[in-house]
C-alpha cells in the first residue's frame, strides 16, 4: 500500500450520531418538500415550468445552484489546488459577463416568446431540424452531466469511508458501497422531482444553496486561520497561484497554460456565453419566474452571490496545498515550484527525492492519485506522480471539521451533488417531453398525458444517468471532462443563438448546418491535438494525429471552443446568405431588431435591470483589481 492511501486512512471519517442526524434531517426536508408540493402539480405547466409563478430571488438562487454540482464544489476546489486563484476566472470572466448578457438581452426572447424550453425557441426562430439536433444533443449532455455527478458522489463516499462503519455493522461487503451510493442518490433525486417537478427541484436548489454556504464558510474561516490568512497562502505558494492575471501573456508562464486572449475569447466569450446563455439547465429556472421583469432579473441576482463563490469553493483548494504536508518527506521539485522549493513551507533540510518513485506523499492535503484496480501510484508521461486534486476539498473537511460540523459539511457536499443531478434531470424531462416526445412521438395527447410522461421521463432520465455514471471513469479531473463535453456541444451553439437573436437574415438551413459543422470542428480539433498534461494519446485528444501539443488540457479546451464557434459562425452566415430568409412578420418577438423593447418607463432607476447589471459588472472589475 502506498503512503497516499495511508493519508486517506489517516483522515478516515469518524461519523457519530450527530452527523447522521444532521444528514437525516436534511434528507427528510428534501423529500418533505416534494410531498408538500405534490398536490400543486395539476398541469404540465406546473410540473415543467413551476407554473411560471416564482419570485426572482428564488429563481436566481436556483439559477446558480443548478450549476453548483460536482463540477463546482469538488472540481473548483481541485482546480484551485492545481491552477491557483486563476481558477476564479471561471467565475469572473467565465460566468458574470455572460449572466449579465443573458439577463439584459436574451431573456426577453426566451421568456417573451412563450417557448417552454431552449430547443423550442430554436424551433420558433429557425426550424424543426435545428430544434431536433439541439434537443437530442442536450438530452445526451444532461444525462452525462447527471451521471458524472452521481459517479463523483459515489466515488467520494467510497474514498472517504462514509458508509464503511454502517456496512461493517450490518455485515454487508464494503465493496457494495459504490453501488449503494449511486442507488441512494438516484432514489432521493427521483423522489423529490417526480413528486414536485421543477418547483420541487428549484426549492431544493435554494435549500442546497444555503446549505453549501453554511457548510463551506466555516471551512474557509478555520482554514485561513490555520495557514495565517491570505498572506499566509501568498507566503506558502508561488505568486502565479495567488494572482489571477499573473503570467497570462504567455502560455508557459501561468498555471493554466494559456494566453490571456485564449482565456478571454475561449473561456470568457465562447464557453461561458455558450453555457450561461443557451443551456436550458440554467435558463429553465429563469423561465419559471413570475413575470417578464422577474425573468430578466434572475441571472442578474444570481450573479451577485456567484462572484463571491470563488472564496467558498476555490479557496479550500488553495488552503489544501498551503498547509504543511502531512508527511514531512517531500517529493522534491516535482510540482510547480522550481524557483522556490522553500516557498511551500518545506524545510530547507527536507530530503529531496532523487526520483519520482520514492516518498510520494502528495502536497499539503492533496494525496497522490492511485489506480483503483492495482493500488499503484499513477504517473504522467514523464514519470511524475499525478495528484488526486479532486480530494483537496473533501480532505479539507475531514482535516478541519470536528464531528457535528463535519456532518453539516458532508451534507453540504452531498447536497451539491444532488442539486447538480436534479437540475439536469428536470432539464432532461422537459426537453424529452416537450421537444422530443410531444414533437415527434405523440403529438396530440392530453395535458394529463404529458404530465404523466414527465414523471416517466424523470424515471428514465435517472436510469440513464446511472448508466452514464458507470461509463464515466477515465478522467483525472471532473472539470476537464465536463468542459470537453460542453465544448463539443455548446461552443457552436452560441454562434447560432447570437445570429438568431441579433441578425434577422439567419435561416434555419444556415443554423442547422452551421451547428453540425461547428460540432465536427470541435471533434476534429480535439482529435488532432494533445495536451501535455495527460498520459498519452486517448480520450483527451490526438486520436486522429498529433499536429499540435498544448501545455494543458484547459488550453486545448479553450481552443477547441474557439474553433467550433468560428466554424459555426462562418458556415451559418455563408449558408444563410445563400438560402431564403423568413418573412419579418414571423420573427417578431424572436429577433432583437423586430421586437418592441420592454417598457421600463414606470420603473425607478434602481429597479431597472440595466442598473443592476452595471452594479454587478463594477463589482467584478473591483474583484479582478484586488486579485490582479
Amino acid at each position: 500500500m502506498s503512503t497516499a492511501s495511508a493519508l486517506a486512512i489517516g483522515l478516515r471519517t469518524n461519523l457519530t450520531g450527530i452527523d447522521w442526524l444532521i444528514m437525516l434531517v436534511y434528507f427528510a426536508f428534501v423529500l418533505g418538500i416534494g410531498f408538500l408540493l405534490k398536490r400543486h402539480m395539476r398541469t404540465s405547466t406546473d410540473f415543467f415550468l413551476a407554473g411560471r409563478a416564482l419570485p426572482a430571488w428564488v429563481c436566481g438562487l436556483a439559477f446558480i445552484s443548478a450549476n453548483l454540482g460536482a463540477q463546482e464544489v469538488i472540481g473548483m476546489g481541485a482546480s484551485g489546488a492545481k491552477y491557483g486563484i486563476a481558477t476564479s476566472q471561471f467565475y469572473w470572466i467565465g460566468a458574470i459577463p455572460a449572466m449579465v448578457f443573458v439577463g439584459l438581452f436574451m431573456m426577453p426572447f426566451y421568456y417573451g416568446s412563450k417557448a417552454r424550453s431552449v430547443p423550442e425557441y430554436l424551433k420558433l426562430r429557425y426550424d424543426e431540424k435545428t430544434r431536433a439536433w439541439n434537443a437530442g444533443s442536450f438530452a445526451i449532455m444532461t444525462v452525462f452531466s447527471s451521471g458524472i455527478s452521481m459517479y463523483a458522489m459515489a466515488k467520494l463516499i467510497q474514498v472517504l469511508h462514509i458508509f464503511d462503519g454502517m456496512f461493517l455493522h450490518l455485515g454487508l461487503p464494503v465493496g457494495w458501497i459504490f453501488h449503494f451510493s449511486i442507488f441512494l442518490s438516484a432514489v432521493i433525486v427521483l423522489g423529490y422531482i417526480s413528486l414536485g417537478g421543477l418547483t420541487s427541484a428549484i426549492y431544493n436548489e435554494v435549500l442546497q444553496f444555503f446549505l453549501i454556504v453554511a457548510g463551506f464558510m466555516p471551512l474557509v474561516w478555520i482554514g485561513l486561520k490555520n495557514v495565517g490568512g491570505w498572506h499566509g497562502i501568498q507566503r506558502a505558494l508561488v505568486p502565479a497561484y495567488t494572482h489571477s492575471w499573473r503570467g497570462m501573456a504567455h502560455a508557459g508562464t501561468n498555471p493554466l497554460g494559456t494566453q490571456w486572449y485564449a482565456l478571454v475569447f475561449g473561456l470568457g466569450f465562447v464557453l461561458s456565453f455558450g453555457y450561461w446563455c443557451t443551456d436550458f439547465l440554467v435558463i429553465q429556472s429563469a423561465m419559471a419566474a413570475e413575470s417578464h421583469l422577474a425573468a430578466r432579473r434572475v441571472p442578474l441576482i444570481a450573479a451577485i452571490p456567484k462572484m463571491f463563490f470563488p472564496f467558498l469553493v476555490i479557496l479550500p483548494g488553495l488552503i489544501a496545498i498551503s498547509v504543511p504536508t502531512v508527511s514531512q518527506r517531500m517529493m522534491g521539485q516535482a510540482q510547480t515550484a522550481p524557483t522556490s522549493p522553500a516557498a511551500r513551507g518545506v524545510p530547507s533540510s527536507a530530503p529531496m527525492a532523487s526520483g519520482a518513485s520514492s516518498a510520494l506523499v502528495g502536497r499539503g492535503l492533496v494525496p497522490v492519485k492511485i489506480d483503483p484496480v492495482n493500488g499503484r501510484v499513477l504517473t504522467d508521461n514523464k514519470g511524475k506522480p499525478l495528484l488526486d486534486y479532486d480530494l483537496a476539498t473533501p480532505n479539507m473537511l475531514l482535516h478541519f471539521f470536528p464531528t457535528g460540523m463535519l456532518g453539516l459539511g458532508l451534507t453540504a457536499l452531498l447536497a451539491s451533488f444532488m442539486s447538480g443531478m436534479a437540475g439536469n434531470v428536470t432539464a432532461f424531462n422537459t426537453v424529452w417531453t416537450y421537444d422530443i416526445y410531444q414533437s415527434y412521438i405523440h403529438k396530440h395527447g392530453s395535458d394529463a398525458h404529458y404530465l404523466w410522461m414527465g414523471r416517466m421521463a424523470t424515471i428514465g432520465g435517472v436510469a440513464l444517468s446511472i448508466g452514464a455514471a458507470y461509463f464515466v471513469t477515465s478522467f483525472n479531473n471532473i472539470m476537464d471532462a465536463l468542459q470537453l463535453v460542453f465544448s463539443f456541444v455548446n461552443a457552436p451553439l452560441l454562434a447560432t443563438f447570437l445570429l438568431g437573436m441579433f441578425w434577422k437574415r439567419t435561416t434555419g438551413h444556415g443554423a442547422f448546418w452551421g451547428l453540425l459543422s461547428g460540432t465536427c470542428a470541435a471533434a476534429l480539433h480535439t482529435g488532432l491535438t494533445l495536451p501535455a498534461d495527460v498520459s498519452g494519446v486517448g480520450i483527451h485528444g490526438g486520436w486522429i494525429a498529433v499536429l499540435h501539443v498544448y501545455p494543458s488540457t484547459m488550453a486545448q479546451t479553450f481552443w477547441t471552443a474557439i474553433w467550433a464557434f468560428c466554424v459555426c459562425l462562418a458556415m451559418t452566415v455563408g449558408l444563410s446568405l445563400m438560402t431564403k430568409p423568413r418573412e419579418e412578420k414571423d420573427l417578431v418577438g424572436l429577433v432583437y431588431s423586430l421586437t418592441p423593447k420592454p417598457a421600463e418607463g414606470h420603473l425607478l432607476w434602481y429597479q431597472r435591470p440595466a442598473s443592476l447589471a452595471i452594479l454587478v459588472l463594477a463589482m467584478v472589475v473591483v474583484l479582478n483589481l484586488v486579485f490582479l
Binding site: 408538500l36 407554473g51 478555520i222 413575470s291 482535516h399 457535528g404 417598457a599
Partner: protein, 88 residues
C-alpha cells in the same frame, strides 16, 4: 406556488442549527475541537444557523400577515398580471 420557500428553509436551519448548538454546549472544551483550532465550531456556527433560520421564519410570517391584511393586488412593476397570490 402555494408554499413559501422561506418556511422549509427557516425550519431546516432552525433544527440543524439548534442541534449543532446543543451538541456544541454538551461537548464544550472537548478534545474534538483540536481539529478546528480550539474553536467550539458547533456552538458558534450552530447559533449563526439558528439565527438565520429564525430570520427566514420571521420574514415569512410577516409577509403572510401583510398579505392577510391586504388582499393581493397586482404590483404595477409587472406587465404580466399573475393570477396567483404572491406568496413570497
Amino acid at each position: 406556488m402555494g408554499l413559501d420557500i422561506r418556511l422549509p428553509l427557516g425550519l431546516l436551519f432552525l433544527v440543524t442549527g439548534g442541534m449543532m448548538a446543543v451538541y456544541g454546549l454538551l461537548t464544550h472544551g472537548s478534545a474534538i475541537y483540536r481539529k478546528s483550532l480550539g474553536i467550539d465550531i458547533n456552538l458558534v456556527w450552530g447559533l449563526v444557523l439558528l439565527l438565520f433560520g429564525v430570520t427566514m421564519l420571521l420574514l415569512a410570517y410577516l409577509d403572510r400577515r401583510r398579505l392577510a391584511a391586504a388582499p393581493p393586488v397586482n404590483p404595477s412593476s409587472d406587465e404580466v398580471p399573475s393570477s396567483r397570490p404572491r406568496g413570497h
